[in-house]
Amino acid sequence: MTKLLEWLLGLSLIGMAWGLVTFDLLDLQLPPQYRELAWPMPVYLLVAFGCYSLATVGYRVATFNDCEDAAKELQAQIKEAKEDLKKKGLKM
């Protein structure tokens, strides 16, 4: 199953569950608190996911390593490489 299909399946299941509870499609006569809670759930979940995404990406950007040492090492190695290669006869 492709990821797309997985998502569609998952969303359909959640959607059905939500619809069942909110609109009482099976005539389960659930207490009104259930319906009141279920009704705005999609929006709540979207907002929660949005916040989670922002926080996660923000955190990851803030903690993105800057490799100063690697850059310095590379610059030194480039110098060394050029000298060594010239000695070995490379004409750039």
Partner: protein
């Protein structure tokens, strides 16, 4: 009989690493990459070969490669050029045909990493595939401004949510594969460019291959600028959605 390398395990002698270097206009970078590879493989004692796959570069990359071959030997530097720019997937297929190693290492000709971390990690866990990551451990980048970091992390986040690939960095191209694993994957993957790299890992997980990761320091192109404009972003999203719908 004491081994020159000290702590020799008999298996090590048998492993050989073929480094595939697809090049296009890498006249400046190629000697440096080769020099670094020779240095690190030399220090590590692993058996290796470097296969330069030049796609008819107009800047004389192939001539530089020929000089390098004279310097380091035709058993270490193999030249398998092609007539024109034909794309990454076919470059790998072409390279594999000429590779004599049981492991293949892929790297962009403009990255600079300690290549010996790949074989090391592979031996640690017997992985089918080892991928370099900028996002874990002490991996990272150099010289990236906030915009670029934001786009990179944002794109990676979306990728993780949509594809759940089981690897932290999909667009990197510093990887080691068991030769037969790479053969199998290249057969299956249909995307182009770096989306191809992403597809390789996604498919690898689907086929049940084990993926190890090593942190890498991505120091920007040794010479020249890396592009990350609107076009790149759009094509990335297109590629991502295609993978989402087809894998």
């Amino acid at each position: 009989m004491a081994s020159r390398r000290g702590n020799a395990k008999t298996g090590e002698q048998a492993d050989k690493y073929s480094v595939l270097l697809p090049t296009y206009n890498e006249r400046e970078n190629l000697p440096l990459i080769v020099w670094l590879l020779v240095k690190y493989f030399g220090e590590s004692g692993y058996n290796y070969e470097i296969i330069v796959i030049d796609d008819g570069s107009p800047d004389g990359t192939l001539q530089i490669a020929e000089q390098l071959q004279k310097i380091y030997g035709a058993d270490k530097i193999l030249l398998r050029p092609r007539a024109k720019k034909l794309g990454l997937g076919t470059a790998y297929i072409h390279g594999i045909k000429h590779a004599s190693g049981n492991f293949i290492i892929i790297m962009d000709a403009d990255l600079s990493h300690h290549v010996s971390t790949l074989p090391l990690k592979q031996k640690e866990g017997g992985y089918d595939l080892v991928s370099g990551t900028r996002y874990r451990g002490d991996g990272g980048v150099y010289g990236w401004d906030l915009r670029r970091k934001l786009i990179s992390r944002g794109a990676n986040f979306i990728t993780q949510v949509l594809l759940r690939p089981g690897a932290s960095d999909l667009t990197g191209s510093f990887r080691l594969y068991k030769t037969e694993v790479l053969e199998k994957l290249v057969e299956q993957c249909v995307s182009k460019g770096y989306v191809f790299q992403m597809e390789m890992i996604v498919r690898a997980r689907q086929l049940g291959y084990t993926v190890g990761e090593v942190p890498i320091s991505f120091v920007d192109r040794v010479y020249g600028e890396s592009k990350l404009g609107g076009n790149e972003i759009v094509s990335f999203l297109k590629g991502l959605l295609t993978l989402f719908a087809t894998t």
